[in-house]
Amino acid sequence: MIEFTLNGKKVQTDAASDTPLVWVIRDEFGLKGTKFGCGVAMCGACTVHIDGNAIRSCSYPVSLAKGKNVNTIESLNNEHPLQSAWVEEQVPQCGYCQSGQIMQAATLLDRNPNPSDQDIVNHMSANYCRCMAYARIKKAIKRAATSSVQYFDPNASSEGENA
């Protein structure tokens, strides 16, 4: 039995300890906003926050989540400035990568509210978008950065560097 906090709620799972967290989140707890793309930490579709860090949940065994705070796209409650910026800039095409893109970008703004173009590229280049909506992802991050002095923090106790 593994216990952790998922979007603010304590949860328990009987999944085998090596089960990738993404399936526990999606299939056991029914939060389908987190996506599965490659399974080898090379696309970022499965990105969630663990204690405030952006983590590839496809390559993160559930046992490591024990006692930690896991937050998914659903935890942003549609209130994160990135989400409105994503709509303003009309970022998503198929949309499949976008939960991961937003979760990845959120940890950038968390630590660096005014990222340069290069900061954005450095932080986002491991996130794959097959629709190649990259130009708009970048624009939307800039928009969110400049439009909000105060930004939504999904995890008040966030600490540490990006994974």
Partner: protein, 765 residues
């Protein structure tokens, strides 16, 4: 429907305007629907709607608050297709845009022909949707005038109201109080005038609006096929055989997997549809267990005969058949190329090749199959239901009417989700298990079962007189043909009426340049064809064909001592067959010349550093019957020491007729330019031992954000018929880059992708 009548069905689809149109009030709603071409005369519009005597792939409902729901049977895979279709309608209907929403309907044979691909959607729906909107408006005006007690000709419709002088009534009130029952015959509908582009207020280059499907894609609520669950289902993962065709399972040993909690055994699949051979699927109560179990189950095979095929074998066969004039089908034969060649003082020849490339749509293939209420219910995102359904029915051994495809958002299509072959193993597993099954492909499974863009081989030969004047060109092109495998009913006859050609592997070679002598011959590469299912990959044949063509045109220009842009402009004179046709290609080559001319001016003053160059190309994708006129330019830098090509900027000037959704068009162009760049410089997956050699994203390396260049996209304002823009942006990028590399360092690259090692090797040679 059977394969036989696919072309008829396709024609019917294109001819939505050959359908009748019904408007009727029912309960508290007003329904508007396309009906059969011939109206069953005994039924009124109301009765036909009530008894569902219509076979629309698009229909609309309006409620008493004036809310309009547009039901759409098109796959949503990133192109936001519902929104522009609804805009076209709303523009003529004069309803309030804020009250419009779209619903993607489940798919069922009764909705008629269903396909989303080839960038056809806008092209095929523009006129009928406009006329449907106009018909709806007329009916609402008539009914509104009656309720207002004024003559209909004193009324106009605006933003959801019928207005006569200072009297007005809302559409919602008309629906609540009016009695509407009107049918337009196919002829009446076809004659309804539609607004010219200038009069449109909801569409056009200056229309600024947002796509309705975007918000759910920013908060995790959009539902993709992979997100679906049904009661009592098992999870499954496939074990793929060593070859795409002809492998047979000889033994399965799952003794190791048995200890896994949740493991539910395996199935060896027998497929009555012949889609898959030698497949095993592994079942479990949860997907992670299925993932693990696959690695613990040992399957032995008699491998199919392509088990040793390599990329080099495919290329060798390609070169053989492009050089053999007896092979393949001639589909363009202007002038007399043989005569031109015999009179030529000089010739140049070049062989262009491209590597196998994959879709890598981000959502891996998946499907749920469930037998319920006497029917097979399939849950998956699919682009071409009407092509897929017969195969699924065959696999299930049931009539087509007993299969229902439920539609979801597609996590990327790009052509991979046209033919839904992945549904077959899901269905067969569910059938064998006697229980609903959700089959999910892990990424390597997905890649091995991809329908890759075939490796290709193109041979060009140009003739010149003694003054270096260009006389004519012979072009032979070979690849695996997607259409031959998946939709043979769509093969076209050759120019002499003999032979067959897959136009999806030939379009682009039938270009818009005026050449006195020009022959093009397409050949199917059987080694490729036997080894995998060749796929339609975004921009399809044009993506590799025009890469060769537009690179070679530069070579011809150089030989003729002409500036490559001016050389093109001179050949894009719009004479003869290049003058275009109404409605879809009015203006012909002159519109292409116009885009290139604009681009030439735009790029005239670009400063080039050392080892930098600008290259150009033109394209008219997807087909001659639906050309989006594009001129593309690339500014590159080449590092001569490492061979690295860096694209600093891409320009495109696009004339696609009336642009329905400008921001959507720009998004599609941004994405497709980057696809073009990714295929030009990064993506290749060579076949080795009968299968593609790279199965996941740590070895297959599409473009990421750090390689995105600056992009300059210009949409030409046009009053002409709108054509699709979802794919054509891909086409011109690779040749523009190749031509730019030549300008920069004098090296001609003739293989895609253009890798650093090709540059350094060419510099050494």
């Amino acid at each position: 429907m059977s394969m036989k009548n696919i072309s008829q069905e396709k024609k019917d689809m294109i001819n939505l305007s050959r359908r009748s149109f019904m408007v009727g009030s029912m309960k508290t709603s007003l329904f508007m629907a396309f009906g059969a071409a011939a109206i069953p005369s005994l039924l009124s519009a109301k009765e036909s709607i009530e008894t569902k005597q219509f076979s629309p792939n698009i229909w609309f409902e309006m409620d008493t608050d004036g809310n309009v729901i547009v039901n759409i049977a098109k796959a949503e895979m990133g192109q936001h297709i519902g929104t522009p279709i609804a805009r076209i309608l709303a523009d003529e209907l004069e309803c309030d845009w804020d009250k419009v929403s779209i619903v993607h309907v489940d798919t069922d044979p009764k909705w008629g022909y269903m396909v989303t691909g080839g960038s056809w959607s806008i092209f095929h729906t523009y006129k009928p949707m406009s006329q449907a909107g106009a018909a709806g408006r007329m009916v609402l005006i008539d009914a509104g005038a009656k309720l207002l007690g004024v003559p209909a000709n004193s009324c106009k419709a605006e933003k959801g109201f019928v207005i006569s002088g200072n009297k007005k009534i809302s559409y919602g009130d008309i629906v609540a109080n009016g009695n509407v029952d009107k049918t337009f015959s196919a002829d009446e509908l076809a004659e309804l005038p539609i607004k010219p582009g200038k009069k449109r207020h909801l569409i056009g280059v200056n229309a600024d609006y947002k796509a309705l499907d975007i918000p759910p894609k920013t908060n995790g609520t959009a539902v993709y096929g992979i997100d679906v669950e049904v009661e009592n289902m098992l999870y499954a993962r496939p074990i793929l055989p060593p070859t795409r065709y002809g492998s047979a399972v000889t033994n399965v040993d799952d003794s190791k997997a048995k200890s896994l909690p949740g493991y539910k055994g395996y199935k060896v699949l027998t497929d009555p549809s012949g889609t898959i051979e030698g497949w095993v699927t592994v079942l479990a109560t949860d997907y992670p267990t299925a993932i693990k179990a696959v690695d613990m189950v040992k399957v032995s095979y008699n491998a199919g005969k392509t088990a040793n095929v390599s990329e080099a074998d495919i290329q060798k066969e390609g070169e053989r058949i492009v050089r053999d004039r007896k092979e393949g089908t001639v589909f363009v034969d202007e002038g007399n190329i043989e005569l031109a060649q015999s009179k030529a003082a000089q010739t140049i020849e070049a062989l262009y090749t491209t590597a196998t490339a994959n879709h890598f749509q981000l959502e891996p293939l998946n499907a749920i199959a469930e037998f319920k209420g006497g029917k097979w219910h399939i849950h998956t995102g699919n682009q071409w239901q009407s092509l897929t359904l017969p195969t699924v029915a065959k696999a299930a051994e049931v009539p087509e009417s007993d299969v229902i495809l439920h539609q979801y958002y597609l996590g990327g299509g790009f052509g991979r989700r046209l033919y839904g072959d992945w549904i077959v193993p899901a269905l067969l597993t569910a059938k064998a298990a006697g229980q609903p099954v959700k089959l999910v492909f892990m990424r390597p499974d997905d890649t091995l079962f991809d329908q890759p863009r075939s490796a290709s081989t193109s041979l060009f030969n140009a003739s010149f007189d003694e003054n270096n004047q260009f006389l004519g060109m012979e072009h032979a092109l070979a690849a695996g043909w997607p259409t031959l495998k998946m939709a043979p009913g769509f093969l076209a006859p050759g120019v002499s009426g003999e032979g067959k050609v897959d136009m999806f592997s030939a379009s682009g070679a039938d270009h818009w340049y005026t050449m006195s002598h020009h022959r093009a011959r397409a050949v199917n590469n059987k080694v490729a064809q036997d080894t995998f299912t060749p796929g339609w990959l975004r921009s399809v044949g044009q993506g590799w064909i025009v890469w060769g063509l537009e690179s070679f045109i530069d070579e011809v220009a150089m030989k003729a001592n002409k500036d490559p842009v001016d050389f093109r402009l001179a050949m894009l004179d719009g004479k003869g067959k290049q003058g275009g046709k109404a409605p879809e290609s009015v203006g012909g080559a002159t519109r292409l010349a116009n885009t290139l001319d604009i681009l030439k001016k735009k790029t005239a003053n670009v400063k080039l550093g050392a080892d930098e160059g600008i290259g150009y190309s033109v394209s008219a994708g997807q087909e001659r019957t639906m050309p989006a006129w594009l001129a593309t330019a690339a500014h590159v830098h080449v590092n001569k020491r490492t061979g690295k090509i860096t694209v600093k900027k891409l320009w495109v000037v696009s004339d696609a007729g009336i642009v329905i959704h400008p921001d959507g068009a720009i998004a599609q162009l941004e994405g497709s330019l980057l696809w073009g760049l990714s295929l030009a410089l990064f993506e290749h997956n060579e076949v080795k031992n009968g299968q593609v050699s790279k199965t996941n994203l740590h070895t297959y390396l599409p473009l990421r954000m750090n390689d995105v260049p600056e992009m300059d996209i210009e949409l030409v304002e046009s009053e002409e018929f709108p054509v699709g823009l979802g794919e054509p942006g891909v086409i011109g990028v690779a040749p523009a880059i190749g031509n730019a590399v030549y300008q920069a360092i004098g090296v001609r690259l003739r293989h895609l992708p253009m890798l650093a090692q090709h540059v350094t090797a060419a510099l050494k040679a």
